[in-house]
Amino acid sequence: MNIAVLQFPGSNCDQDAFHIFASGLRLPTRYVWHKDQALGDADLVVVPGGFSYGDYLRCGAIARFSPVMGAVKEYAARGGLVLAVCNGFQIVCEAGLLPGALIRNSSLEFRCITCELKVEDSTAAFRVGTIGKTIRVPIAHGEGNYRIDEAGLARLEANRQILLRYVKNPNGSIAGIAGIRNEQGNVFGMMPHPERAFERFHPSQDGLAVVKAVLATKFPEFAAKSAAPASPVPIFG
């Protein structure tokens, strides 16, 4: 198992992301600098939160052209697992790895709160049965307002690509969307920070189940033991 956490100039959740995998799950974890052209042997690539390139132009717009993103695109096209959080979610949307875009919160405020999230039955690994019906995970963003056109939203719903929805919408996201996956089911993006929800001093420990569900997509040893599917869900491959 090999977890690669990307680092862009302005990333600030890279160490938290490193910590949940290295300490929370005791997995071999390493950083990959944005100038690197190759990812090496990675089982999961984490695109962490922060303010890459100062959020200049648009959030994630410049990071998308970092040398490492070419490697991430190839890796994702080969079916590699990607978890993109907050600014990472903005980056992978800009890169076209996930559909849609994130714009300014409808409140115009930077929202830094713990949100209640409704878990959706999205995949065999990412579902209510493995994560819980509702979870509490912190958000911290000014631009988390998810936008997609009607046809795109219909596709997300039909393919069960929505992972998490806000119980109380903090940013104006369409359909209360807090996180989505790609159609193939190997790229996961979300505004909430699971890496800020696992230590005892964190607002909750629900982030661990989220991260495990992403890993269990490819590595069944991370699947929650007791869970039986709550309802039939499509198994992607």
Partner: protein, 81 residues
């Protein structure tokens, strides 16, 4: 050659900044306001000739980097020196 690239939120995309500024304009007594949209102006200076090939390249960078076609429209004005 000077190029002004205007990037604006798409008509059907919500513009929270524009809405907030619109409310402020109304509270200043600037009435009969129908809409306020906020975009950005990007000024470029390029040493190149205005050829169809150059325009194609410019369109491409506007689509790929300067704007996000999911949420924004762009247009540009080219002024020769």
């Amino acid at each position: 050659m000077k190029i002004n690239v205007f990037v604006t939120p798409k008509k059907n995309v919500l513009d929270p900044q524009g809405a907030a500024v619109g409310h402020a304009l109304e509270s200043l007594g600037f009435s009969r306001l129908k809409s306020t949209r906020i975009g950005k102006l990007i000024e470029l200076e390029v040493e190149a000739q205005d050829t169809p090939e150059f325009r194609a390249r410019l369109d491409q960078v506007c689509r790929d980097l300067l704007s996000n076609p999911i949420i924004e429209d762009f247009r540009y004005e080219i002024a020769s020196r």
